[in-house]
Symmetry: C2
Subunit: 441 residues, 2 copies
């Protein structure tokens, strides 16, 4: 039997402890099946004496993760510290420089510094594996890196953040407001005290940057992603979506277009009976469209100690089996630079919600603004029982705004924005128009 | 750059031609990304002169696939002949014996002879890869073999046959009979002239045998699988399922139970809003439940030239990258023998449809037979408008049978069978009771 593979773990938070448990429960059997034993030999964390579910006294201890990364006693450095800068980055660089394979779950690090880190790993012939960085327990990195290598990918998209999907699912099922459900989610531990990172779409964008690089052979670039969060979604939007046959999901989408790779994170209307729409709560999903494989979708737990540990372990097992691939599939020297998505060129259908003053001519003016941009409508819906479209009401209440929802046929984002700006300027609406993109599935 | 990997393809039917196309379209780029070029050097098929979408004149030609398998001009033998015996088996054995890696899409071959073939491959240090053998373009073999290696799997199940799912989907959407929809499917090319292999569940069982071996470390054994096809499903069952909140799907299920690995293929009631129930038409899906990863589901095209070619290509790419794993993950010497499922011990809920003569005491007798076996009911439904349960009708039509549907609480298959046998013997029903298992998701 080959020499044991020695693993050092930096960071013993939720995921780190999950990994310790996985080793305790299945470590011996995994070694037997791989033909090479895999052992934790050293760990590093902030506090050695903290109570943990697994005894760490038999592992070498390092106060500084960088010292662990450089240690001669490990072959694989597992980075579970988190954060795109600071200790995580320094330690991963140190590990690669001193000849250690690296496994990480750190999407922020990869989205912001993936290219130089991959260059370093490739130069040294080392693995830089990150299955756990996207969609937790779902094997999407391996699927793109290995299973779908024989395809040109045209689109990859998914629900990549459990917190936002949990909030949107509860808003939909309970008819409650974003703020109320967020408060509940915070109390239940599904959302952070400062929820910006999740609800603003930043976490989704980090993961999307990684998927885009794998799928399209471009450099991972967080800054190239168009970003909108779910803060502005109201119960009225969710209810209108339901009546029009849609669910609202926060999607990350990367798509090959005539003007390049379009990367965007925003609330999206998805047809109600699609697999994506049925993904509820903290579950994640990723859909990949290949020219040969067709449409492949992966669904599973997007976070959590045990699913994430499962993915980290699969990365370690690959190393034990001698599998070392370029981190982003395409060797770094061939990765193309990634430019910021030209969202104005985005084409699709749109949902629009307007709060329109009920006065004569209001709706005619709105319709004229849409027509000016050659936008045609698939559906119009207004929500005050028994009344007509605003401006056509028999018994109008002139200063009482009425919500009007529209679904457009396929058009460009540039056209929609021009139309909505003009509508706002005309003064028939009492708040900024809401606009949600519809994704063709 | 390493020496080119030389590929020989035996069988140029639909999938073989799909693979030729994939090489033509993406071959050069795949080689560049892998750092090793991959080339088709030789082919074998029944008829050399047949018109094909890709010119094969530049490849060496072999009339006999066994000669191709033994040829010095190839490193990888791709078997796309099909069938569990005959040329496919002989050629795969010859390839392995003469030191060639093997890639195959042949589920029947693996389900019946996987163990000796894997033993041969392992003894020679060769790959025997078969991603395309289960669920076409969906990377389920790699997911089990690599991504979920750190898990104890408790259940794997899925929709593994596109033809049956296409038929069930159309029956459900159009309210038509099995025979009618089958005839349509045959005309549209979705079902064979002799459809037994698909609709009887044999194809699903071949694929399930492979999944079971990968998931549970037992020998692949087609004969260990309990098998029922979809021939007996009626529009009444589909309609009742819909009203009770279910869809009927032909599932292959392998499950770890107290009495061993239970492997079964049968029509199954799945909750209507589950991901499995939403898989329609020829699409396949596989769900895997791991103790760390949680529930992971993969969905995608289950067959077809291009998806299957995509999977075959990923197997070839793995070989070009030097990845050679035991075919069934667990080395053959450690695979446990697989015993036939003890279906009588199966536990779950059941849907039962009875055609009951409308006479006094009929339903009381049926209820008594269920009670004798300690079977309790979750729902009862009868389908003649305005009438009561049979035997309780105010204006009875004594010799007119009435359909009665029941959903039971969790019980054993042994109990259900005893109860249904007794009900049939009592003579209150005019045909064999229908029984469909409910799968907890």
């Amino acid at each position: 039997m080959a020499k044991a593979l020695r693993v050092g773990i930096a960071g013993l938070g939720v995921v780190g402890q999950g990994l310790l448990e996985l080793f305790a429960v299945h470590g011996a059997e995994i070694g037997a099946r791989c033909g090479r034993s895999i052992e934790i030999t050293a760990v590093s964390a902030r506090d050695r004496s903290r109570t943990r579910s697994v005894d760490i006294s038999r592992f070498a201890w390092f106060d500084d993760p960088v010292d662990l990364a450089k240690s001669d006693g490990i072959d694989v450095f597992v980075e579970l510290i988190g954060g795109s800068e600071g200790a995580a980055k320094t330690a991963v660089e140190a590990a690669l420089c001193s000849g250690k394979h690296v496994v990480t779950a750190n999407k922020a690090l990869l989205a912001r510094h993936g290219v130089p880190l991959a260059r370093l790993a490739e130069a040294k012939g080392l693995a830089l594996n990150f299955e756990a960085a996207v969609a937790g327990g779902v094997p999407v990195v391996k699927t793109l890196r290995e299973s779908l290598m024989g395809n040109q990918i045209s689109r990859v998209f998914g629900i990549l953040n459990g917190t936002t999907n949990y909030i949107l699912t509860r808003m939909q099922k309970e008819g409650r407001s974003f703020a109320e459900v967020l408060r509940d989610a915070q109390e239940a531990g599904y959302a952070e005290a400062d929820p910006t990172f999740d609800i603003g779409g930043f976490d989704t964008a980090h993961k999307l940057a990684i998927l885009t690089s794998l799928a399209f052979g471009v450099e991972a670039s967080f800054d190239a992603i168009y970003l909108e969060g779910i803060e502005t979604i109201t119960p009225a939007d969710i209810e209108a979506a339901d009546e029009l046959g849609y669910r609202i999901k926060l999607l990350g989408v990367a798509q090959l277009t005539e003007s390049g790779i379009e990367q965007r994170v925003h609330p999206t209307m998805t047809p109600k009976h699609s697999a994506v729409a049925e993904v509820e709560g903290v579950t994640n999903c990723v859909a990949i469209e290949g020219d040969f494989a067709g449409n492949v979708m992966l669904i599973g737990p997007g976070a959590g100690a045990r699913p994430t540990a499962s993915s980290v372990m699969s990365d370690i097992i690959d190393i034990s089996r001698g599998v070392v691939l370029p981190p982003f599939i395409t060797p770094v020297e061939f990765l193309k630079p990634c430019e910021r998505a030209a969202m104005r060129a985005h084409e699709g259908g749109y949902y629009i919600r307007l709060s329109v003053y009920d006065r004569t001519g209001a709706f005619a003016a709105i319709a004229a603004r849409m027509a000016e941009q050659c936008i045609s409508l698939e559906a119009i819906m207004q929500k005050r029982e028994g009344s007509e479209l605003p401006g056509f009401a028999v018994r109008g209440m002139p200063n009482q705004p009425i919500p009007v929802m529209m679904i457009t046929h396929r058009t460009t984002e540039a056209a929609i924005r021009l139309a909505l700006d003009a509508i706002e300027r005309d003064g028939h609406v009492d708040e900024r128009p809401q606009m949600i993109r519809i994704e063709r599935l």
